[in-house]
């Protein structure tokens, strides 16, 4: 039926002559705005090195969430791709539903795995309990973007940006006072709980207790994080913008400081063009001693259950997460490298950071990075959205930080496995 209809439209697929010794693998990835060029490059190079493998891409999903939903919907159906890149905080959803292939047995058989630059830290990022759900491909941390022109205009020093939130708010208020719709700062708190985690972890807090039975952000660390968000609005005069509007406003030169993932760096550079001088630096931490930052990004996950394909997919995963893949994804997006060899090797990224100072902020924060927390149970997805809704109330100044903390604790507790 499908082919018949295809021919009716005169647009039948150009069916590739299936050679007996060619393995075809289908690859799916999210956020093509960041990853499309990167993926194309990696796939081309991989096929060049492995002429017996043909890589085709499924249509990319707009966000990590969309990508995850797609995998869950297609799980077990022939539409399921062989590989997908899943957000690091959603690996648990897959693991709990037993979707995807555990890589551990394959890695154990692989003798030179370690020497290829895959450290234990890296493996940790994509491990749920004992299951190696995937291989971390791109990692990110939140960084501090700013418009040096605006900073100068209000008498700030672009070379010495504030390292505390109080300093940020003060500067933001000054920039906002310039008028003409200019905003001092924006902090991308919506979409998911990642940027809230950055505040919470930055204060040494955590989401749930170690046994994952109760919330852990209902203490002073959590409250301080919420108060910081509150003060962004109260003192820093942060306007209530949607995620897209924040980016648009910043790249239009209408926002002084912007806090978001380093992964967006390349597209922000493009959006800014030569309208103003763009700079980046480290994000302030509430508690510089104990503070950490959540690791954003994704891991390559294998879905195919076909043993013949599995080997090819495994090779592809290593290739993408290996030095070559990293050397493409880092400059192409702004993500930080996960592979040790890529960072050290002259051939790959060693000189890149010397030549591209904007990319250093993300790299410099690597030591602070801890896994992005993922919630257990059936409501793993819903729980983050609920938190965001409560944060929204706070940003709109409808509730106090104390009330927000209470509401979040209640809402999240309700959605934890009973």
């Amino acid at each position: 039926m499908r082919y018949m209809l295809g021919m009716i439209t005169g647009l039948a697929l150009i069916a590739s002559p299936a050679l007996a010794d060619t393995t075809e693998i289908t690859v799916h990835y999210p956020m093509p705005g960041f990853f499309k060029d990167v993926m194309d490059k990696i796939a081309t190079e991989y096929m060049h090195q492995h002429p017996d493998v043909k890589i085709t891409f499924a249509s990319p999903s707009a966000t990590y969430e969309d990508g995850l939903q797609l995998m869950l919907r297609e799980a077990g159906s022939p539409e399921m791709p062989d590989v997908s890149f899943i957000g690091l905080n959603r690996l648990r959803v897959l693991a709990e539903r037993n979707i995807g292939v555990d890589l551990k047995p394959l890695i154990d058989k692989d003798s030179n795995f370690k020497s290829e630059g895959f450290s234990e830290t890296l493996l940790q990022l994509a491990r749920v309990h004992d299951r190696q759900v995937g291989l971390a491909f791109a990692a990110s941390d939140p960084i501090f973007y700013y418009n040096a022109d605006l900073v100068r205009k209000v008498g700030g020093d672009p070379d010495h940006m504030p390292t505390t939130w109080e300093g940020v708010f003060e500067l933001a208020a000054k920039i906002q006072a310039l008028g003409d719709g200019t905003a001092g700062m924006s902090y991308r708190w919506m979409g998911d709980d990642w940027m809230f985690s950055a505040l919470l972890f930055g204060n040494g807090g955590s989401m749930l207790t170690a046994d994952e039975k109760k919330v852990a952000f209902d203490g002073p660390e959590g409250l301080a994080a919420l108060k910081t968000l509150d003060n962004m609005v109260k003192i820093g005069k942060m306007p209530n913008l949607s995620s897209d509007a924040m980016v648009q406003s910043f790249t239009a030169g209408k926002t002084g400081m912007f806090f978001w993932t380093t992964g967006a760096l390349r597209s922000i550079i493009k959006g800014v063009g030569d309208k103003f001088e763009l700079r980046t630096t480290k994000i302030p931490l509430l508690n510089p001693e104990k503070g950490h930052l959540p690791t954003g990004g994704n891991a390559a996950v294998m879905f195919t259950t076909n043993p013949a394909k599995q080997q090819a997919v495994y090779e592809f995963l290593k290739f993408a997460a290996g030095p070559f893949g990293e050397s493409v994804v880092v400059p192409g997006t702004g993500y930080v490298p996960t592979n040790e060899n890529a960072a050290k090797d002259e051939k790959y990224l060693k000189t890149f950071y010397d030549q591209n100072p904007l990319f250093r902020a993300g790299r410099d924060q690597i030591p602070l990075m801890v896994p992005w927390y993922s919630f257990p149970g059936n409501n793993g997805v819903k729980v983050t959205q609920t938190m965001v809704d409560d944060l929204g109330q706070l940003v709109e100044q409808k509730i106090t930080p104390e009330e927000a903390q209470k509401a979040m604790a209640q809402d999240v507790s309700k959605l934890l496995p009973r």
Binding site: R2, L5, I8, T9, G33, S59, E74, E79, D244, G271
Partner: protein, 303 residues
């Protein structure tokens, strides 16, 4: 007009009163003030309604760095038409996506008419057991949108391995209770003689349906087809659930893919793509506008 020249000058310069009288104000003709007022109000309305298009077109001509520099200027300082449209047509299979839309919409409206017309004819003109029950089902069907039953339909499509096919885009919509309902109204107005005459000529009921009823219901079918095409060209709920491949994307889905995949914040290119997916329908409507309005008129909307 004639009143204005009721007194004219003859060649000798003497005023000659022409036997013309001021005309009675006709109630269905507007006074000059009313005419101007009508145009002004309608133009303001049209300007508001068309504002988004103006911006869409203007942005599709602008370079990325210019789009978000604030200001109300519609004319770009740097033209980037070629770059934007090239991106829109090359980074996603835009032509394929548009053809998907055309194919899916045509298939849906064809099937809808194909199935609805005989049923409407039978409901309007023939007696059979279960007719009232069937009609009741149809009225209820008017109420249940696809959205509400998308979950079982999705489950069934998946079970039948129909995800990412043209079939799954078309089959759930092949039945339009709305079409049955509308055609039934129209068929009721067809003179009985016409149908009796066709029976005398030895036509089967099926033949009557296609050779007598269809030509009479044609305006209604046209306007229904336009409604149907508009609805399905625009639908994003169902395609979003069942299609995950660019190759099979319908225009809105293709646009969402493009927005996510290629455009990001490149609004120039995004708007170029928006123009590309909107244009076919707009052009289609502009051509069919007259037939459409006539069709709507014939579908039992009269008082």
């Amino acid at each position: 007009m004639s009143t204005m020249i009721s007194a004219t000058q003859d060649s000798a310069g003497v005023a000659v009163v022409v036997r013309k009288r001021p005309r009675a104000a006709r109630f269905d003709e507007l006074s000059t003030t009313a005419r101007v007022l009508r145009l002004v109000v309608l133009f303001i309305g049209a300007a508001i309604l068309l504002l988004p298009y103006a911006w869409m077109l203007s942005t599709s001509f602008k370079a990325q760095s210019e789009v978000f520099s604030s200001g109300l200027s519609l004319i770009p300082q740097h033209w980037a038409i070629v770059a934007n449209y090239t991106k829109a047509f090359t980074r996603v299979p835009m032509v394929q996506i548009l053809l998907n839309g055309v194919f899916v919409c045509l298939a849906i409206s064809t099937f809808q008419i194909l199935f609805a017309l005989p049923a409407a004819y039978a409901l309007a003109r023939l007696k059979f057991r279960g007719r009232d029950l069937l009609f009741g089902c149809i009225i209820l069907g008017l109420l249940v949108p696809i959205h509400a039953v998308s979950i079982p339909l999705y489950a069934a499509s998946r079970w039948l391995n129909l995800l990412n096919t043209y079939a799954v885009l078309i089959v759930p919509f092949t039945l339009s209770v709305f079409a049955i309902f509308q055609f039934r109204q129209v068929i009721k107005t067809i003179p009985d003689d016409l149908i009796q005459a066709a029976r005398m000529d030895g036509m089967s009921e099926m033949a009557i349906c296609w050779r007598v009823v269809l030509p009479n219901a044609w305006p209604a079918a046209t306007s229904f087809a336009i409604f149907s095409v508009v609805a399905h060209w625009n639908d994003v709920y169902w395609p979003q659930i069942v299609i995950s491949q660019n190759r099979l994307a319908t225009p809105p889905l293709g646009l969402l893919f493009f927005r996510a995949a290629e455009a990001g914040d490149d609004y120039g290119a995004l708007m170029a793509a928006t123009v590309a997916v909107s244009a076919p329908l707009v052009i289609f409507f502009l051509f069919a506008q007259k037939a459409f309005i006539e069709g709507v008129t014939s579908t039992g909307l009269k008082g």
